[in-house]
């Protein structure tokens, strides 16, 4: 799946450091074969100070389950406006989500971090189950999650 973050949806926070330069990054998330219903998963970014900057993608369409993505909810305030236009289907057991985003250049190699929260019905909630620095030196290196994520990598 390829997805270019549309200008409107690319929340101001993510592009704020500088409109001029943008770079395409690709995030590839592969889930374990945990065998349950589709996983809810949210990708979001915090800055060097740990401050929430915005959501890149929400996989899972039913708002009533969002409170299970508790770190994202706490960091963002949980308002639905945060993920307006960047939601899609939940991700099945063992499946891979691969998406591309245009990210402001200034956010790369500047201490920003990508967070993943996941939750599965009747399973575990995994707030911040993986946290990756947005550093070009880590490009393409897969990192395991502690919950349903088998591996996640960011390519610049």
């Amino acid at each position: 799946m390829k997805f270019i973050l549309p200008a409107i949806a690319a929340s101001a926070a993510l592009l704020a450091p500088g409109f001029a330069e943008a770079r395409q990054i690709t995030i590839e998330t592969t889930l374990k074969n945990y065998g349950g219903n589709g996983a809810y998963l949210v990708l979001y970014v915090t800055d060097a100070a740990g401050k929430y900057k915005g959501a890149l993608w929400m996989a899972g369409g039913k708002a009533k389950y969002y409170p299970h993505l508790s770190d994202w909810r706490r960091a963002s305030g949980g308002a639905l406006a945060e993920i307006d236009g960047v939601t899609g289907a939940s991700i099945g057991s063992g499946k891979t989500l691969k998406m591309s985003f245009d990210l402001a250049d200034a956010m790369i190699d500047a201490g920003y971090k990508l967070h993943v929260d996941t939750a599965v019905e009747d399973g575990r909630d995994n707030p911040s189950e993986a946290v990756l620095p947005l550093d070009a030196s880590n490009s393409g290196k897969p990192v395991p999650g502690k919950g349903y994520v088998k591996s996640i990598s960011v390519s610049f």
Binding site: G35, G36, N37, G61, K62, A63, K64, Y66, P67, S70, D71, R73, R74, G77, G78, A79, L80, D122, G123, R124, D125, N126, P127, S128, K146, G147
Partner: protein, 728 residues
């Protein structure tokens, strides 16, 4: 309209609804099983104590959650291991790994989405809506049929399929209404039609002090484990850590250092409704409710099977009208008033002949009469009469609809009936009178047709053809069900000496051993249709036996000049006849233990003797029967004496018109027994009358004052199935 919706929607959605219901019934067992497996929560432990006990066993805790089924689970992380375990809700002791059952997950997904994602969820929502509408429309029909809400638990007349459908229906209706309503709510909530609690949380300012032991936090000490929903721990090493506590009261954020609540969002009314709906639908945490809902749902396959059976029977009874053009474009409209669907057969013959003659013809039930029919060139009305001049089933609302029409249209009326009855073609007379009163032109004078006579119908067709200016040959062959051969086993003859020969005839399927033919299923009171060799028109006789007796027993009075009765009386053991069985569900004892009053004369004793024979339960049964002479035509004399001794028959009262003490008729006995009969009717007795038309009329006259003294009348008893007649 209700029936039409109920059958069409029911038949179309049967498979999906059965799947939803069966999976729902399976899931309904879960709360009861969980209840057995889960320790009950005592109102004694605080959330702080539970959290402390759990935290002591793990490096870090992510979440403590009370599941909908009442069990307590803890999500923890020990080094690389992230796990979920069940814990004792009071002591916090580990009870082993938690893993949701794969089977339950599969059944749940089948139940709510047919394993087809959002499209399936939408279909399941439509299913809930359909179930709601089917239950409601079914209840309305049942209440109407039984004669009011208070009569809802009376016994249901009809075929076994109808009795099961209605009988289980009234038991399961409440559960199904609850399940479908709550299911509909949940579906609406899934698709965002019901506003969701805003997930947004207030901005929090934590003290950022060193985290304290969880067991010491004041806000957690104040909450009882029984009220806990979810407790989320702060991430390890998070210095501005905050606990999030969801309880039945609402959601609180608690400072990890001070133990004070930083913010609190009370549960809204909507939250409480959502929780209640969940419990009412799943039965989780309410196992008895769950089992009740499950039992109700388990009846749905029975509704599907019996409903489809009844629907197919109704369809099969009505012949298909080939080339039925729309009402709008038809120049000739045929309207049918039919009780047992035989008039539809005549309509089909007429329809085909007119179509062959180049007419465009629309055929419909008389109840369908609408303004559009008045724009046709002519209306041909074929109507049977039910009982004594009453409108047949498919014409009940005809006269009211006719009254509302203004445009005149030429009409011809054909009445179907039986000259033996008081008002021969009585309803067709009423229809003709109403049309005359409106001043509509009549193409032909009203025609009366006796006992489905094909010759008389052909005669009318000839007249109609003459009026239309072309030949019209109506060759009606009434369609009979498949017949089978029956062999006479034995006969008992009565009444020859008094000039009223009656024979009890017993038939079986011919052949012996494995080659013996199978008998169809029947009960006493059903009809054996016998086809005499010389005529295609079957004659009907009430059966005195049931399938399990292995014999078909009828009681036949020989009538002078009677084609069929004469040939039946000429049979010797071993002779064969051609016959089929027709159900007669209207003439049957209601289920239950209420007394039965059986009244008959002459050969009419046949089915009544059958009811007595089948009374193994020994309910009170009182038989009144009239014959000519105790010496000559006392049918079933010995068997009835035996049934009295066996208590299958409570009392036997006979009347003989040529007795030594002069002529006494069965109606005289009834009049004389009025006090006893009144008491029996007061106790809810059902009255079944079988015999000739005159006898039935005399009996109803004799019973009328008895019933009226109870503040009832025979019409009320008839409408509730407590006064039924089988009259010939």
């Amino acid at each position: 309209m209700f029936r039409r919706f109920h059958s069409l929607a029911g038949v179309a959605l049967a498979l999906g609804l059965v799947l939803i219901a069966l999976t729902g019934a399976a899931l309904s067992l879960q709360p009861a099983l969980d209840r057995l497996a889960t320790p009950a929560i005592a109102h004694s432990a605080s959330v702080a104590a539970l959290a402390e006990a759990v935290a002591a066993r793990h490096q870090s805790i992510d979440l403590i959650r009370k599941r909908a089924d009442g069990s307590m689970t803890v999500a923890f992380t020990d080094g690389d291991i992230a796990g979920v375990e069940r814990v004792d809700p009071v002591t916090g002791a580990g009870l082993g790994d938690f893993r949701a059952s794969e089977f339950t997950r599969l059944i749940t997904n089948l139940h709510r989405s047919f394993l087809a994602g959002d499209a399936g969820r939408a279909a399941a929502g439509v299913g809930a809506l359909a179930m709601l509408a089917l239950t409601a429309s079914g209840l309305v029909m049942l209440v109407r049929r039984l004669g009011g809400l208070r009569a809802l638990f009376r016994s249901i007349p009809g075929t076994p399929a109808q009795r099961w459908h209605g009988g289980l229906g009234r038991l399961a209706a409440a559960g199904l209404l609850l399940s479908s309503l709550t299911g509909l709510w949940m579906s609406a909530s899934t698709f965002g039609f019901i506003p969701e609690r805003d997930a947004a949380i207030p901005a929090l300012v934590a003290s950022a002090g060193a985290p304290a032991q969880v067991g010491t936090l004041g806000a957690l000490k104040a909450v009882d484990v029984a009220d806990l929903r979810e407790l989320t721990f702060p991430a390890p090493g998070d210095n501005a850590g905050v606990y999030r506590l969801r309880s039945s009261a609402g959601e609180a954020w608690i400072d990890a250092a001070t133990g004070e609540a930083l913010a609190f969002a009370p549960a809204t009314t909507l939250d409480r409704i959502q929780d209640l709906v969940r419990i009412l639908h799943t039965g989780q945490g309410a196992w008895a409710l769950g089992l009740w809902l499950g039992l109700s749902a388990a009846a749905v396959p029975v509704f599907a099977a019996t409903g489809i059976l009844s629907w197919r029977r109704r369809r099969a009874a009505r012949p298909r009208i080939a080339r039925n053009v729309s009402a709008r474009s038809a120049e000739t409209v045929i309207l049918v008033g039919s009780e047992g669907n035989s008039t539809w057969g005549f309509a089909a013959t007429l329809h085909a002949a007119l179509t062959a003659a180049g007419h465009s013809v629309h055929t419909a039930a008389m109840n369908d009469l609408a303004p559009v029919h008045a724009s046709a060139g002519r209306l041909l009305i074929l109507s049977a009469t039910s009982g004594d001049g009453v409108a047949p089933a498919s014409a009940k609302s005809f006269l009211a609809r006719l009254a509302a029409l203004n445009d005149a249209v030429p009409v011809a009326v054909v009445g179907f009936g039986d000259r033996n009855f008081g008002r021969f073609c009585g309803f067709a007379d009423d229809v003709t009178a109403a049309i005359e009163a409106k001043g509509w032109p009549q193409i032909l004078p009203m025609k009366r047709i006796d006992r489905r006579s094909a010759q008389e119908f052909a005669q009318w067709g000839h007249d109609l053809g003459a009026a239309l200016g072309h030949d019209l040959a109506l060759e009606h062959i009434s369609e009979s069900p498949k017949t089978f051969a029956l062999e006479l086993v034995e006969r008992e003859d009565y009444g020859v000496a008094v000039g009223a020969p009656v024979a009890i005839l017993r038939f079986r399927a011919p052949g012996t051993g494995a080659r013996a033919g199978r008998l169809p299923s029947f009960e006493p009171g059903d009809l054996l249709a016998v086809l005499p060799a010389e005529s295609p028109m079957p004659r009907f006789y009430s059966l005195a036996s049931a399938t399990r007796d292995g014999l078909l027993e009828i009681c036949v009075r020989r009538r002078d000049g009677g084609l069929c009765s004469t040939s039946l009386h000429a049979l010797a053991p071993g002779d064969l006849i051609q016959a089929f069985v027709r159900e007669n569900p209207a003439f049957r004892p209601n289920s239950g233990g209420a007394p039965l009053i059986l009244i008959g004369a002459g050969a009419g004793i046949g089915p009544l003797a059958g009811f007595v024979r089948a009374n193994r339960a020994g309910r009170p049964v009182h038989l009144y029967w009239g014959g000519r002479s105790a010496a000559s035509d006392f049918l079933y004399e010995r068997e009835l004496a035996r049934r009295l001794a066996e208590k299958r028959l409570t009392s036997l009262t006979t009347a003989f018109s040529r007795g030594p003490d002069g002529g006494v008729y069965v109606q005289d006995r009834i009049a004389a027994d009025a006090p006893r009969l009144r008491e029996l009717i007061r106790q809810g007795a059902q009255i079944l009358v079988c015999g000739g038309c005159d006898m039935a009329q005399a009996v109803s006259h004799a019973l009328d004052p008895v019933v009226r003294s109870l503040g009832l009348d025979l019409a009320i008893l008839k409408s509730s199935g407590r006064y039924v007649e089988d009259v010939y």
